[in-house]
């Protein structure tokens, strides 16, 4: 395969490194997938984390099981920036196929630890090289030949530890944790880390400028990926029916959930208080959610773009027949199969309006692992309150990468089941009309099958219906019903998570971002101010429909930059539909859509350029 087909590298801004760089740089490990480097990278990440330095890790991997290039980038940032850093400062080159290009894309002043036979030294004069003879080092620590390929990776952990000043004891702790149940494997891997450390100590004189020094920023924090965080949220939301069809990058959400449910939701009688069904496809997965939600269960499914496309017809039914359900979309790059293992905010419009006819859906937009957890719970609440499918739009970057967070808080709100009438209430009321707007908020009352009252039953259909749920093709019935649905959607504006605003000064520039774009945005916010003297106000969207704050924010600024990770500015389009005509012209686009997580420099450069600076 030509190197060009597999390379990750994009053009970075060449800013030369000078002086001592403490706790503010990026490390990239370039390997092939299936080589077992994941454990080594996790150990490296955790070692830095345990040194108290804010850190984030991103796995940039191929859609393949073994043998294709994979990059793992770790960013240490004393400022707490956790977006991807575009420039790579410290490279660990393990993959012959990409090594040359990986080296060529480094910024001047960078450092590179490489597998000796790759012979990279002569490629650059402005990079510090450290060759490591892995094959020679691994033999003595790992007598078993077939394990060497895996154990080799731990050697670079030791080398990097020495070169960056990461305490060996922290890596030891991280290894012990990584192989908690396998003492022998832990010993073997630790020996490899030590071998690398000793070799580096005996061989290298440090010439690069990168150092990790102890800080105290991480006390009490956790590291988790967004999918596992969402899974915890679902479990504490009290989910009972989970359906799915495997698809990257959503798979690990349900797999984590299965683990958690097995641990915490098996009753004392050994029986399950949940059902997880691996459906035959996404049509069946969402169909089961609709059936279960209709019959009173908290039901969910998790998927990604291709699955969303398949779910269209059912989601329209859920909207029109008013059935609760939660759909996680861990967005990946589309259209079609696209780049299955790369990240994008590309399903905003398709989810907002999924299905034919007039439909609008509630979207929640988590930006962090903490919000993956809290919004999972909010999604179930909203789905039952509004009797409608609710989407949680995460993405691959958030779902599958490791993020630091404060420990999650236990939910304070009790589980709400929405407007459901039981037998006693039916007895008192003498009956009910399924689609009648009794309270003026557009939300009708429903009953669950099995309710022991002769007046409980109604007929649910995706065809036209009147207030009583009877089949109707009457123009007035149709209009009354869909207008009520629109009213219900308006009510939701006040109940969905409100945007977060940072309006610290009266700037005429506003920026709107959402989801994972937030992390690049906060950093860009500082870059704009420090480097260019451009002050901006910032609003982070957390849900659709938008509330009044969003309208006010646009109104109160002259120019609005909408930062997002797709080609067409999908959120900007959605905003345009909501805003009055005179506000629309203010909206500008800042887009990032090459499949890699958005970085601050790209945002800063684009805003600076559009500001004409």
């Amino acid at each position: 395969m030509a190197t060009l087909d597999v390379t990750l590298q994009e053009q970075a801004t060449p800013t030369a490194q000078t002086g001592r760089n403490v706790n503010d740089f990026s490390i990239q490990v370039a390997t092939v997938n299936g080589s077992g480097s994941q454990s080594a990278n996790t150990v490296l990440l955790r070692s830095i984390f345990q040194m108290g330095v804010p850190v984030s890790g991103k796995n940039l991997f191929p859609s393949n099981i073994a043998g294709l290039p994979t990059w793992y980038t770790i960013r240490a940032s004393k400022h707490g920036y956790i977006a991807r850093k575009k420039e790579i400062d410290f490279l660990v080159a393990m993959n012959a196929e990409t090594a040359q290009e990986d080296v060529m894309s480094l910024v001047p002043g960078a450092a590179c630890v490489y597998d000796e036979p790759l012979n990279l030294k002569q490629l650059r004069q402005d990079v510090t090289f450290y060759p490591v003879p892995y094959d020679k080092l691994v033999g003595p620590v790992c007598p078993e030949a077939k394990l060497r390929r895996l154990v080799k990776n731990m050697i670079y952990v030791g080398v990097v530890d020495y070169l960056l000043g990461i305490e060996l004891a922290e890596s030891e702790k991280a290894v012990a944790r990584q192989f908690a149940t396998k003492k022998k494997a832990a010993d073997l891997n630790m020996a490899a880390v030590r071998a690398g450390y000793d070799y580096a100590k005996a061989t290298f004189t440090k010439h690069d400028s990168f150092f990790i020094e102890r800080m105290n920023e991480n006390a009490g924090k956790i590291i988790i990926d967004g999918n596992a965080a969402a899974a915890l949220g679902c479990m504490f939301a009290g989910v009972t029916v989970v359906t799915w069809y495997p698809i990257t990058p959503s798979t690990s959400l349900v797999e984590s959930l299965i683990d958690y449910l097995k641990e915490y939701r098996i009753g004392s009688d050994g029986k399950a208080t949940f059902a997880v069904v691996q459906a035959e496809d996404e049509l069946a997965a969402i169909g089961m959610v609709m059936g279960a939600g209709w019959a009173g269960a908290r039901a969910m499914t998790s998927t990604s773009g291709p699955g969303i496309s398949l779910m269209g017809e059912f989601v329209g039914l859920g909207y029109y027949a008013e059935i609760p359900g939660v759909i996680f979309d861990i967005q990946r790059v589309g259209p079609s199969t696209g780049l299955p293992t790369r990240t994008m905010q590309g399903d905003i419009l398709s989810c907002a309006f999924l299905s034919h006819g007039d439909t609008k859906h509630i979207l929640l937009l988590p930006n962090s692992v903490t919000e993956c957890y809290t919004m999972a719970m909010e999604a179930f609440e909203l789905a039952e309150q509004f009797q409608t499918p609710v989407f949680v739009l995460s993405d691959l970057d958030l779902g599958m990468n490791s993020w630091m967070a404060q420990p999650f808080e236990y939910p304070e709100q009790p589980v709400g089941r929405g407007k459901v009438l039981g037998a006693d209430e039916l007895q008192r009321l003498g009956g009910f009309a399924r689609y009648k707007d009794v309270d003026g908020d557009g939300i009708p009352y429903r009953t669950l099958p099995g309710t022991a009252h002769p007046a409980a039953a109604y007929f649910t259909r995706g065809s036209g219906h009147n207030e009583k749920g009877q089949y109707s093709e009457r123009p007035d019935d149709y209009v009354r019903n869909v207008d009520r649905l629109a009213r219900k959607f308006d009510t939701a504006r006040k109940f969905v998570p409100a945007p977060v605003k940072e309006i610290s000064h009266s700037s005429e520039i506003g920026v709107i971002a959402y989801g994972t774009s937030h992390w690049a945005m906060t950093e860009a916010h500082d870059q704009l101010e420090k480097e260019y003297g451009i002050k901006v106000d910032y609003l982070r969207l957390r849900a659709y429909p938008f509330n009044q704050d969003v309208h006010d924010f646009v109104k109160n600024h002259n120019r609005i930059y909408v930062v997002e990770q797709n080609r067409d500015g999908q959120m900007r389009e959605l905003l345009k539909l909501d805003l009055p005509p005179e506000q629309i012209a203010k909206l500008r686009r800042v887009l990032h859509y090459n499949g890699l997580p958005i970085d601050a420099r790209s945002v800063t450069n684009e805003i600076v350029s559009q500001e004409g600076k």
């Binding site: 009490g220 924090k221 956790i222 590291i223 988790i224 915890l232 479990m235 504490f236 939301a237 009290g238 009972t240 029916v241 359906t243 915490y264 939701r265 009753g267 009688d269 050994g270 029986k271 399950a272 208080t273 059902a275 069904v277 459906a279 035959e280 049509l283 069946a284 997965a285 169909g287 089961m288 609709m290 059936g291 279960a292 939600g293 209709w294 019959a295 009173g296 269960a297 039901a299 017809e313 059912f314 039914l317 420990p407 999650f408 236990y410 009790p414 589980v415 669950l448 099958p449 099995g450 022991a452 009252h453 002769p454 039953a457 109604y458 007929f459 649910t460 259909r461 995706g462 065809s463």
Partner: protein, 345 residues
């Protein structure tokens, strides 16, 4: 006329047959589907099914409209075309105490819905799944469906040139545990099958040939009233004794097999000319294939297995319906979150 009207007849739970009635049908007069709705009402009444405990599921088609025409006191769900099995599965998972009855058409099942149908059969989910099979798409005005026989002719003269899918053979192969075929015109057989179906806890699949009088009841059709009457070959004579009726009926064990259903009812299968063993899965598939080649329409209980675990067993579900579990059960305590957090530090 006498002044005192007789008290209306009631069933084991004290309801009259009127408590099981549905809305007025909007299907064509003479449509086989209407006769099936009537048999469902009779079976539910005779078996003392609590209407509120029944849910009526369907896809899209003339057939799928019929749940609106029986048991109005039961919740109904007219889903999307070909995908009722998944919705019904969700309903059953949320509340496994409900009796889930699905009505589908041959197009809804064997064409657009074949994928979901197959996987429903595999799971042995407790459900009664009825195909109202007329060999055409009634609602879209008479195109062939995937159960139309090779060489069957439409009114317009179009000949079906693809082989049919035998939904019963498929269901048996895939793991359904009560599989039958019947004819909307055979009141007695269909009623008995439906009563037995109500007694079964597993996937019941009944393919009911149900002629479409408007688009597929002519000479040259193999799903017309006349054709089915002429080719109907019952594999056994059926008898049924519900669990709440304590009657001993004499029967000859040499010619009659008895199946004890999950609720304690007894299904009697009396031999006719051929010796058909409805508990022999492999043989059932073989005989179905052979009879098909001969142009016979075998009806009756084609396969029954009361021993296989159902989907709820496989999922190890707790006793109370999932949808009714209280917060104290579905939200683990604070300690659980603290433990999970400690593992991530």
């Amino acid at each position: 006329m006498s002044a005192t009207p007789a008290a209306p007849k009631t069933n084991v739970i004290g309801l009259s047959v009127l408590d099981y009635r549905g809305g007025k049908t909007t299907l064509c007069a003479g449509c086989g589907h209407n006769a099936i709705s009537e048999r469902i009402i009779d079976a539910a009444y005779e078996m003392g099914v609590r209407p509120e405990n029944l849910v009526k599921m369907s896809g899209i088609g003339c057939s799928s409209k019929s749940p609106a025409y029986f048991v109005n006191r039961a919740h109904g769900f007219n889903a999307v075309h070909g995908r009722m099995p998944s919705v019904a599965t969700g309903v059953a998972l949320a509340n496994h105490k409900l009796m889930v009855l699905g009505v589908s058409g041959d197009g809804d099942t064997a064409s657009i819905g074949i994928g979901q149908f197959i996987h429903l059969m595999r799971r042995n989910l407790p459900i009664i799944y009825i195909i109202e099979d007329n060999g055409v798409y009634g609602l879209t005005k008479g195109q062939f469906s995937a159960t139309a026989d090779l060489g069957a002719k439409l009114k317009t003269g179009v000949i079906n040139d693809l082989p049919p899918i035998d939904t019963c053979a498929l269901a048996i192969e895939l793991g359904a545990t009560f599989v039958a075929r019947s004819f909307s015109g055979d009141k007695r057989q269909l009623l008995t099958l439906l009563k037995a179906a109500i007694s079964h806890r597993g996937t019941v699949m009944i393919d009911v040939i149900s002629p479409c009088v408007t688009f597929n009841d002519h000479e040259g059709s193999t799903k017309s009233y006349k054709y089915v009457k002429d080719h109907d070959e019952p594999v056994q004579e059926l008898g049924f004794v519900p669990h709440f009726e304590n009657i001993e009926v004499d029967y000859d064990p040499g010619t009659t097999a008895t199946v004890t259903m999950h609720d304690g009812s007894h299904l009697r299968l009396r031999k006719l000319e051929r010796d058909y063993d409805a508990t022999d899965r492999i043989n059932a598939m073989k005989i179905l294939a052979e009879s098909h080649a001969k142009g016979e329409v075998l009806t009756g209980v084609l396969y029954v297995n009361t021993q296989a675990p159902n989907f709820f067993d496989v999922l190890n579900l707790t006793g109370q319906p999932l949808g009714q579990l209280p917060e104290s059960v579905v939200r683990p305590p604070k300690k659980a979150l603290e433990d999970a957090m400690a593992e991530l530090m």
